[in-house]
């Protein structure tokens, strides 16, 4: 017989246990898939901290930790025991799943189905300690890290944030070691700091220890001082505040101008790519974000801009009569814009998914035309176009590397951002907004649907054409296969991630979706895996995008509030 308090306890204990177990199962699936994807073998020789933790171990151990954290976070009421308990359960189940995999793998040969399920994998997963001891160690690690995560969650805000920040920095610095070392290699004082913090492979143990003191100290200091500094700024007289704002803006601009010199060749190239996608993103944002017309063939305008610039400036063609890229630029941009309007006409009556499918087709048609033998004499067919003119300026000699092109992209992006803001707050911007909301009502408000839609297609295409023209001169040669439909999808993704219709959102989306994967290039094989995980997590936690458009954020927030109200009411 149970006494009544015990009954109560078991009743209230079951739900959190169940939810923690669910999280644990998810953790198990994640760790098993990490293992079977081959990441363990791939990164087993790379250390996060030299001779202490390899990247593959870090991936597994971090999963335990994160699962424990999530499980503890989901508790409706957080007591010390339940928080640590939930974390431990989730971490333990995550590790138990791995142990099951190892056990199973030792009995049957899983290698027939999963190429990566080799004895070497099991050996690495058990920390090379042998099956029984290693498995035990793995289980203990899951249990311990999960419990630790649950315990950390109990800490007050400031130290908790400090610990998590430290963890993130150490893992980040360890994982991105090559990139960081190459970038700051010739920065004098930083170079010696780097030599201190890094060993030949990963962070040095001493470095990691110093970091784990330094970063929390700084984080806590920041937590204390930042609000104080803010109140001090708020107390300043208005003109000084304004000067401060302009000053920091000016500082930002100066930094933007210095970036290529600071970051070196490789990262400048990354920034160029970000710039290219940013241009396209801002263009497509007008069509999809502002006017709500789902265009999946946006790459077509990018291609047209590139081909017009190429055909007009390459000496290989009889039409290559324009020796200077700058003179061909307006023609390329306008041609692309004109095509935008032209392609817009047949799809005027279409909405939603129909529009998406047809525009997708247009994108492919343009690429196939570029590839066709029929047009080969004029646009080069599969051989593409070579020797496209550089954007040379009079009087100054420029050596056209990624660093020089950065400024071209910067200028293009700043221009396009400016134009986007102006458009958004214009009369036309309002018409787009109305069309996005409801075409029929927009018409009933006196908005000319045809003109409004065509302007959106045209304006979006102008930006795409600009991106294409810069792309052409940067690469000097273009081929039809550079204009794959995946580009349209990528551009669409970055808008969605950033937040539909939001201009800063597009910037952040481009950085996150184009910049970040470039930084993770060393993990090339697994790039799209990370990418996919990031997208799913994003859609679950921030469906409105990273920096949602102000009004859209409101809508979703209010919806959420309603939901919680209903939840609490019932």
């Amino acid at each position: 017989m149970l006494s009544s308090p015990e009954i109560l306890q078991t009743r209230s204990a079951t739900p959190w246990l169940k939810s923690a177990a669910q999280i644990g199962v998810i953790g198990g699936i994640i760790t098993i898939s990490i293992a079977l994807q081959g990441m363990i073998q791939a990164f087993s020789s790379r250390d996060v901290i030299y001779q202490v933790v390899t990247m593959s171990q870090a991936a597994i151990l971090l999963t335990f930790f994160v699962m424990g954290y999530v499980a503890a976070m989901r508790l409706p009421m957080r007591a010390a025991s339940s928080s640590i308990g939930a974390g431990a359960v989730a971490g333990f189940i995550s590790s138990a799943a791995l142990v099951l995999l190892i056990g199973l793998g030792n009995v049957v040969n899983l290698g027939n189905v999963f190429v990566n399920a080799t004895p070497q994998l099991y050996e690495l997963l058990t920390f090379k300690l042998g099956l029984p001891i290693g498995s035990l160690a793995l289980l203990l690690a899951g249990l311990g890290l999960g419990a630790l995560a649950g315990a950390i969650l109990l800490l007050p805000d400031s130290p908790r944030r400090a610990i998590l920040t430290t963890l993130a920095w150490i893992v980040g610095l360890g994982v991105l070691q090559d990139l960081i070392r190459v970038t700051f290699a010739d920065w004098g004082f930083l170079e010696s700091a780097l030599r201190f913090f890094y060993a030949s492979n990963g962070l040095s143990l001493v470095g990691a220890l110093v970091l784990s003191v330094l970063i929390p100290a700084l984080a806590i200091l920041w937590d204390k001082q930042a609000p104080r500094a803010q109140t001090r700024i708020d107390r300043l007289p208005a003109p000084t505040q304004r000067a401060l704002r302009w000053g920091s803006l000016g500082f930002g601009v100066v930094i933007l101008f210095l970036l290529p010199a600071l970051l070196g060749l490789y990262l400048s190239e990354v920034l160029d790519n970000v710039g290219l996608y940013l241009l396209m993103g801002l263009g497509l944002n007008i069509v999809v974000g502002f006017a709500g017309l789902l265009d999946l063939g946006y790459v077509a305008f990018f291609a047209i801009g590139a081909y017009v610039a190429g055909v007009l400036t390459s000496p290989e063609f009889s039409t290559g009569v324009i020796p200077n890229w700058w003179l061909a630029l307006p023609i390329a941009v306008l041609a692309s814009g004109a095509f935008g309007v032209l392609l817009g006409i047949p799809v005027l009556k279409m909405r939603g998914d129909y529009l998406a499918i047809v525009t997708l087709g247009f994108g492919e048609i343009i690429r196939l035309l570029a590839l066709s033998d029929f047009l080969k004499p004029w646009i080069g067919g599969a051989q593409g176009i070579q020797r496209i003119a550089k954007p040379d300026l009079p009087f100054i000699q420029i050596s056209w590397g990624p660093q020089a092109f950065y400024y071209l992209f910067l200028a293009g992006c700043l221009l396009v951002i400016f134009v986007s803001y102006r458009l958004k707050s214009s009369r036309l911007g309002r018409a787009w907004m109305a069309v996005r909301e409801d075409e029929d009502v927009a018409q009933a408000m006196g908005i000319n649907l045809v003109a409004t839609k065509l302007k959106a297609f045209g304006m979006g295409a102008l930006f795409g054409g600009l991106a294409g023209a810069i792309f052409a001169t940067k690469l000097e040669s273009i081929y039809p296969h550079s204009f794959n439909f995946l580009i349209s999808i990528n551009v669409l993704c970055l808008i969605i991630i950033g937040g539909m219709g939001s201009i800063p959102g597009v910037v952040v989306g481009a950085l996150a979706l184009v910049g970040l994967p470039e930084l993770l290039r060393e993990f090339a094989e697994f790039r799209f895996l990370f990418y996919g995980i990031a997208l799913v997590v994003m859609m679950l936690t921030r469906p409105e995008g990273l920096i949602p458009e102000a009004r859209r954020a409101m809508e979703l927030e209010e919806f959420r509030e309603e939901e919680t109200e209903q939840a609490t009411a019932s």
């Binding site: 309002r430 109305a434 909301e437 018409q443 009933a444 408000m445 006196g446 000319n448 649907l449 809508e555």
Partner: protein, 237 residues
């Protein structure tokens, strides 16, 4: 000359013959109501007048000028405004922005300001909620906004498609009062309603539509007394 003259129009949805020769007249300063059962073709008539649907046959004139065949945005600027069925306000826009959208096609700034004042005095509720998102308004408020937005187009004829739909009796009362007030301020109104009793109270004349055809037309007074209307639309024995 009649303000709005609809003359024997036939409208189709694909092969569906939805309007089979509708004729109606709205004189300057009148409230005219169009009543009928579900699916009779009331909304279709409105859509045809506003240009969202083009009649295959027949003419529509506004103060003697042909407007059939013109695109919807052109018809709005000619002076036909509407509060559509189901209100259809812009949910993601604020109340103020919704009203602004109504004035989209206009350039006369002083006139717009005057109309905005007018809408806000007519619906003080909207002024209080100017910054609120349209989608978060209550049903009654949304109807006010839809009417206010239509008024912002500065219509010579205002078409209202079932403004009382889904509203509590108190609100229905208020909406019909507003309709009368609007009319007293000089707006000509074509009122589409299923609530025949109420509609025939405020209207001067009325038309009864059944399966795409006008089956009765008379003064509101007479319609209220007609046996057919009383049986079919007023629920009396």
């Amino acid at each position: 000359m009649a303000m709005l003259q609809v003359n024997d129009i036939h409208s189709y949805y694909g092969n569906i013959h939805a309007l089979k020769g509708i004729s109606l007249t709205v004189e300057q300063g009148e409230i005219v109501t169009l009543i009928g059962a579900n699916g009779a073709g009331k909304t279709t008539t409105l859509k045809t007048i506003s240009g969202q649907l083009h009649p295959r046959h027949g003419t529509i004139t506004l103060e003697g000028e042909r407007i059939d065949g013109l695109p919807p945005h052109e018809i709005v600027t000619r002076g036909i405004g509407q509060s559509p069925e189901g209100r259809k306000i812009f949910g993601a826009l604020t109340v103020y922005e919704n009203l602004e959208m109504g004035a989209y096609a206009r350039t006369d700034k002083p006139g717009i300001a005057r109309d905005l004042d007018f809408v806000f005095t007519l619906f003080p509720r909207l002024k209080e909620r100017a910054k609120q998102l349209g989608g978060t308004l209550s049903g009654g408020e949304q109807q006010m906004l839809a009417m206010g937005r239509a008024m912002m187009t500065h219509p010579r004829v205002l078409m209202l498609d079932e403004p009382s739909m889904g509203l509590a009796p108190v609100l229905v009362e208020a909406i019909f009062e507003t309709i009368q007030k609007l009319n007293q301020e000089g707006t000509t109104i074509l009122l589409i309603e299923q609530n025949a009793a109420k509609a025939l109270q405020v209207a001067r004349r009325g038309y009864v539509i059944e399966t795409g055809q006008i089956v009765l037309q008379d003064s509101a007074e007479k319609l209220r007394q007609s046996e057919r209307v009383r049986k079919a639309y007023l629920g009396e024995e």
